[in-house]
Homo-oligomer: 238 residues x 6
């Protein structure tokens, strides 16, 4: 079966630790098994140039991996002088996903930056980052209320993400690195707690996939994400 | 309904012009209506470092837009000193998609680079690039056979792509810029001519989408892509 | 004899196609034989910092080659993160040349950027870019009049350019790549339609040249450029 | 006196947690009070170009801060495309200091890279990084022995570091951020467990300092560093 | 014995030539033996963003070496697209040191940039740069008075620097390249003419150093720097 | 009248000081009046990749200006992370010009890099750099002979350069900054001591120029360059 001994529909142990570091308006350590990502939400009283004067806010994300978060050391992007293509692709996905959680009009002229820094990688860093980043985002929105900069939180809905894939012919949820590197198909599914899709990115790594496989994966993903919404809620109420 | 007067399932006029420029092993001008992309395939007798000595080949893609391919002039990426995030994301998608068309073992130690340069943009540049790029790729593979570097073409299957979306509540295929900029949901679907999915990227721009809408969009995409495979075949036989 | 069979004073077939792409205020495909360059002119209602508040306008140029416009693929400058020295040198030449065509006081606080993108190269890309860029520039100036931003066009004079050189001991005009790569001397001559020189750049590639050779080349250039002014006029009246 | 209530010669609570992440040959979380740095040591079987063929090894360091490790968010260096001057200065100091711990001849042709990533900053990140980095380095050296690549550890001596300064006229050890930002003088002292100095960097921030003050600070530093060597030893034996 | 035949406490021949180039508000050629650095001070009527509106001034430094100032040619930093780590470290040291010379409140909203360009290197370029840079700085401050932008010079004190080290077991002052490349310990000492330390940077190159060696080096440094203050004074009065 | 009081055909005082710095194989300070450029020639026993294995040598040039070589401080190119367009254009011109002086076959697999660093600018830096660079080049070639790496110098001919222009309607030679910034036309002429042209770059700054003006300028240039060849010869024999 799965290298970890999990059943196909069983996600890894998932932990959300709020207030993980001290300075940020929101700071969450999210763990999907051995994948560990620090998500911080930082509030600034300004917006990017393309939004100036429109009275709306902005949510954006940046992503990075510590050089030795992975099995062999990767060159440090700051030292190489540019972010790699995978980094750019992932941080754009995180940003788009988390923007769906917020009413930008209600946010007003604030920018919230979600920094997702992987300190240990074992597959699924982008889904962990979205799931943990949303909790950090909620904390930052509540901080705006607590500090009287907003009357009520502009949160529209929670957002969470999970990966699904076809591993040795079987659809499975929340792939770890061993599965991910051998999966025939890998799909990241981002949803709202009201049941809508925010983003679906499915890639055939080894062989094309068909509608039935797609349906199975989406069903697994929905089921897995429901658990994430419970964990997010528990963390925020804890 | 649609600004262009098209029916929901009607793609734009699509043209594939082979041998568009003189130097490349494959050179195709692809037009999806007013979207025009020059796709060239260049063959090199070497592979990237991570493949050296493995006897396998590689297919990769680069994407660019002429500064005034769009309604207002964009800064030239070469002058700004870096490729933007959107560019990186798109060229990675094109590369992944076109790799699915080729048997890398059979390609041997050659790299084929597909350059997709947008000379006029009206929505759907990435799907046009994949669809046209696949034809340029086939020409380059055939060139390897014609020049006796390979015995037979390592082509596994044709690959094509089309966008679908929800525009004013209705699923439509092959969105132009006017539709794209107002669509609630935008999805790029990449398939093989044998009916499998290579990649699905669906993004809720304005509101989350649900399973039914996903199904409608996928059905439209399949239907639209079938037309593309006919056009690719005609072009290659023409 | 010349590889193309042309006589020494015979330029290649030259074509100027206006309105080549849809978005730009001026858009011209210029062809000097197999050399093909898309020249677009983009108008912005602002000037660079060094001109702010002076009531004058600015004309500038950028130059690029598609990676496979040449016989073997060149690395994409955007991907390498910088423009090469040749690119910089050429775009500065184009900018200087085209500024000579315009009365900057009369242009007022507008910037016109001429983008010259080579889609197929066969020698003489910079002279083609200047000749075609000037037509795109005229269209953009007329657009400013048509949109009531200027009362009359600030065009002072037409500008065109041709290369001359010493090929196998004989002065020839409008060198193609085969000639250019073997010429003893290569000179680019940029003139106005009133007969003045805007720029002369002559380089001894293989052996120094003498005054007599210089005089012969300049005579050929003048004669060749006169044809270009006719073609520009025809295109603009066509 | 001190904002934290500490006595002048009292360092903060210091913790060294080995095996903090899973992949690296050495991985230590070092905490100097609220300053938290992840130090990983990565082994590669090669040396930089300037050492090739000399049979010697190399130890180097890289340093980074998570964007929100500080009170207000700093721009991500990878996104800005370069490491700042402070980063470069610190990582050079860490590298020089840790090279003093190792017999490069005995290390043979291996490179050990110490990555020091600050996840929370409260002053003294460079001294924490050196102190924790040395423990990660020892683990990596022992890993080379355990995996039979070396017969015995090439460790020459332990290295640790502490800051001292003049705060409101009084010499104090291990300054936190509040003290550091107001100190008249700030000095970083790096020593070996055999009592020698590896590096001294003292900077007059507000007013020049004199020999007596220097002597007081060095005495405090020696005393503080002795405690660090005990903690390093405990961690390595724990 | 020292390679140059100097006694341990004997600095090289030191020359300070004011008004070395014509354009700068302060321009000094400083020579420490064969080490030659052009130091210019440039005044601007503005301050960096972090000081805007505070009514205070700023002093900063930049450092560079001509590519062939050294025994073998170094790559030009402008061509490589970044300043190396050593350059950054040195220019930060020069800037910090020279800021100690000036009363920033009295300077008002002016920035003085000290450019230190090494035209010939033979060890000690940073100490020469600080010593010569301070003279250029004084000239620039006096220029502000002469041009009526300030009522009196905001100079607080003179600053000078010298290197000391342990060469073959003996403490020596003002090391040249031959000594520097073999010294066991190398220390740069920056002081004010009122006897205070501005910065001490001591590095054990080969073996750790002890308190006694430190004391000997500091004594040598003080003695050497006193000579520098005399030379600075002579130059400024000359 | 010329601002300097010179007659139209009178160049500035020109000085060539050999062995200006100590390390380079050729080192010349060239002064054209107040324009001062350090030209060094560095020899390496290798060639660029495109020449490997061809048995031929290479001559190349780099150009830079000290930030305060000019009336107001220019940003340091190394700090900005790229060389400006003007710099690139000039160093390409210097390299092309000096390559004409050397028989590359006879040079064998050596690269000579001419670094031209402007320490004070007053117009004509590129012509000064070529004229002084050629002397440094000759010294480097002779050094190859003196160190027995070549049997005889591969020098083919001397190369020198001067600017000419139309200033207030009169053709003048060797323009200083005051003239240069107001000249109607500016031309750089590079010749060999055997009377051939290596490069001519003439630019109409304010108004187009005609054949007669071109002829007058070339005549002035020839006359001026003859003086330079005498000065080069004197310097090399001095």
């Amino acid at each position: 079966m799965r290298p970890s001994g999990r059943t196909p529909e069983q996600p890894r142990d998932i932990r959300l630790t709020r207030n993980y570091t001290r300075h940020a308006e929101g700071s969450v350590l999210v763990e999907f098994g051995d994948t560990k990502v620090i998500c911080t939400a930082s509030v600034e009283n300004k917006v990017p140039p393309f939004l100036r004067g429109e009275g709306k806010g902005w949510v954006t994300a940046e992503y990075g991996m510590l050089p030795r978060s992975t099995g062999s050391r990767m060159g440090r992007e700051a030292a190489r002088g540019k972010q790699g293509g995978r980094t750019v692709e992932i941080q754009r996905l995180i940003g788009r996903s988390l923007r769906a959680a917020v009413d930008m009009e209600a946010l007003g002229e604030h920018t919230i930056t979600i920094d997702c820094d992987v300190i240990q990688a074992d597959g699924g860093t982008r889904t962990a980052a979205i799931t943990g980043g949303c909790v950090a985002l909620v904390d930052a929105l509540n901080h705006l209320v607590a500090t009287k900069r907003l009357k009520k939180s502009p949160l529209k809905q929670m957002v969470a993400a999970v990966s699904v894939g076809i591993y040795k012919g079987t659809p499975v949820v929340d792939l770890d690195y061993l599965e991910d590197s051998e999966a025939e198909t890998d799909m990241n599914v981002i949803m709202t707690d009201q049941g809508g899709f925010i983003e679906i990115q499915g890639t055939a790594e080894a062989a094309p996939f068909v509608q039935d496989e797609l349906n199975s994966m989406l069903a697994l993903a929905k089921q897995g994400i429901e658990k994430l919404f419970v964990l997010q809620k528990d963390a925020l109420e804890g």
